[in-house]
Each structure stands twice: as C-alpha cells, then as structure tokens.
Symmetry: C2
C-alpha cells in the first residue's frame, strides 16, 4: 500500500496534519501495523492536494510553525474506498532479531540471552502501550485488529518465557563442550561478566 493511500486512510478519522498522521502510525489506532516516515508523508500529502483528494488549510498557531491541517474531500473518500476494494498485498514482516537468533550458534550464549531479554521487553512495551488505548469508541474493525495484535504479542512473549531459557542453555552447553576442546566461539566474553556458572539455570533473569 503506497503512502498516498495510507494518508487517505488516516484522514478518515478526522482532519490532521502530517505530524499527526505520523503519530497515528506509530502509536494510535494504526498501531504498528504499517510504519511510514515523514519522507513519505509530506510528499504524499502534497500530491494528494494537487489531485484534489484532500484539502489543506494552514492554521497559524500561537507561536508554533504553521500547522497545515488536511481534510478528506468527497472525491478523496471515493478514491479511498475504491483502493480498499482492490486485493491487498500480502503481509510483510521483517525481524533482524529473529534472523540473528537463527544463527545463534555463532554467538556467545550470554549475548543471545541479552537479545531475547531485549526482544521480550520491546514487545512487552508495545503491549503496555496498547493497553493504554481505550477500547471504547472503536469501530468493529479497529477492535478486531486491536485484539488481534494483543493476542499475537502475548503469544510471542509467552513463547520466549517458555522456551527462551532452554535455547540459551543449549547454546551454553555447546559452548562449554567446544571450549573444553580448545575451540573458541566468536569474541571472548567481556572481562566483567566472568563467573562461568555452569548448569542450565535461569540465564535469562540476570541483566
């Protein structure tokens, strides 16, 4: 979905500035289901104005830079519904963390433990943000998507809690075996966090 269509969609909920639209796509009702940056939003709004799909009125604010408020026109709404009837592109998901975890056997187990911890924390934070958003006065579609995101994030966190330590333990055991044979795995552990502490206990708990 291109930036112009996304901006049209964002303006359905009422007039907004480019800055507001950005906030919607990183926090609000659009959650994190389609990120978009300033570099795409502003050119898109300019183009949409030229096409007559949105209107722009510059509001001179107290002592802030002028706020350009965009609102949907009748043709804009028509164009939006038309584009939404077209078959949607498939989902695209990309995760650096999961790619790295796929190659976890090349990394020190301590580092992998930190990765898992940070990954869990990041998604816990998004969960918290979603819980702050009030589920009232949401359209049926918004509620469906909201609940779906909630479910997915909880499933992800749950999976880390259930299988994360086992992964780190497996890596750590392989590491011990290799080191006892004189091999080395990637960079040596930082001089601070020595204290081998063998056994497969909770390596995820410590920061």
């Amino acid at each position: 979905m291109d930036a112009k269509t996304l901006c049209l969609g964002a303006l359905v909920n009422g007039p907004a500035s480019g800055y507001d639209i950005r906030k919607m796509f990183e926090e609000g009702s659009y959650g994190c289901l389609h990120p978009i940056s300033f570099g795409s939003i502003y050119p898109a709004l300019t183009a949409l104005t030229a096409e007559g799909l949105v209107e722009c009125t510059a509001e001179e604010q107290a002592r802030r830079p002028d706020k350009k408020v965009y609102r949907l026109t009748a043709e804009g709404l028509k164009a939006l519904t038309a584009r939404m009837m077209a078959p949607p592109q498939p989902d695209r998901f990309r995760s650096d963390t999961l790619v790295v975890l796929t190659l976890a056997h090349l990394l020190p187990s301590d580092h992998v433990a930190g990765l898992l911890q940070a990954y869990r924390a990041a998604h816990q934070m998004e969960l918290d943000m979603m819980m702050q958003c009030p589920p009232e006065n949401l359209t049926p579609g918004q509620k469906f998507v909201h609940d779906l995101g909630f479910t997915m994030y909880r499933a992800l966190i749950d999976h880390i809690d259930r299988h994360g330590e086992a992964l780190v333990a497996a890596l750590s055991d392989a590491e011990q075996t290799l080191q006892s044979r004189g091999d080395s795995v990637a960079t040596a552990p930082a001089p601070g966090d020595a204290m081998p502490s063998p056994g497969a206990s909770s390596r995820l708990a410590a920061k």
Copy 2:
C-alpha cells in the same frame, strides 16, 4: 539489516547462488522473516566479492546459464559475527489487510468476509509450508524461531476463527440499519451474490 549482511548470513549454511539465497528467504530456514528481492541480492553479492567477504566460482552447468556459486571466506564469517553482535533494529511489520480491516465500516460486509477468508487461507498456507520443513537437523536457534513462527500463525488463524464472524455480523447489521434509512455503503454488492440472508449466521463459510 542490509542486504549484504543478510547474504552473509544465508551463506553460513553452505555455498549458494543468488537464486538459492532468494529461495531461502521465501521458503527455507529463513521462512518469511526477512524478505529480500533479486534487485538487492545480486548487487550485494557483487559488493561482497569486491570486499573479499565471499568468493565466487562460476560453474558451467549442463545446458543452463552459468551458476555463480558464492561461499563465505574467513573474513566474511568474522564480519558476519561482528554485525550480529550489534544491537538489532526493531521488527517491522506491515499489513495492508489489517489497515483495510481497520476501516472495515466503509466497506460492504461481504467484501470484508472475503478479505478475512483470504487472510486466513494465506496464513494457513504458510503454516502448511512450515510443517513440511523437517524439524530435525535444525540448530537450536532455528528450532526456536521455527516454533515461534508456528505459534504466531496458529494464534492468528485462531483469532480469525473466533472473532471473524462476529466482525462481519456487526458490519452487516450496521449496513442493514443504514440501508433501511436510505443511505448507501460504498459500491453496491455484486449482482451475483444477492440473497440478503439476514441474521448473524456463518457468513465466513461461503466462498
């Protein structure tokens, strides 16, 4: 994560051509966790060769175009582990379908039902593909990521099964209310699938 790092990571499992790497990222052990296209792979491999991080040998095949097989060098492996120790970028997820569902109240309920059905089918297909991949001889990290993807997809399908029909029913009811007052919602339903069929029964079942 840039295309060069991804290609290095793909070559850990053994030598491969650009074509092979592409297949890995759309099917194999890298599942759908970081899509990448030819337009990025081939320039990346050329650059990596120039940097000495991979080596290339052109194999003249029977009567196919020459296959350029790339393999990781020692420096390549070092560079890869170094890049994987750097803090990863946050996940990026984008879904046209979920954006459209957020605005479902602007669309005919029949169309939304079709969207949900297609969305479910697409993820069911990916689940099937993952089940074909043998879970043996996977590294601990690969198994962790594989199981995670499995869990997430199942949670998604389960959510559609549990709440999809309620969403369509809510939209359909609102539609009826509007139409009885003389309004209209987007385009009229296609002439084939008439048969109003009120009530909140299984509107998702029919194709």
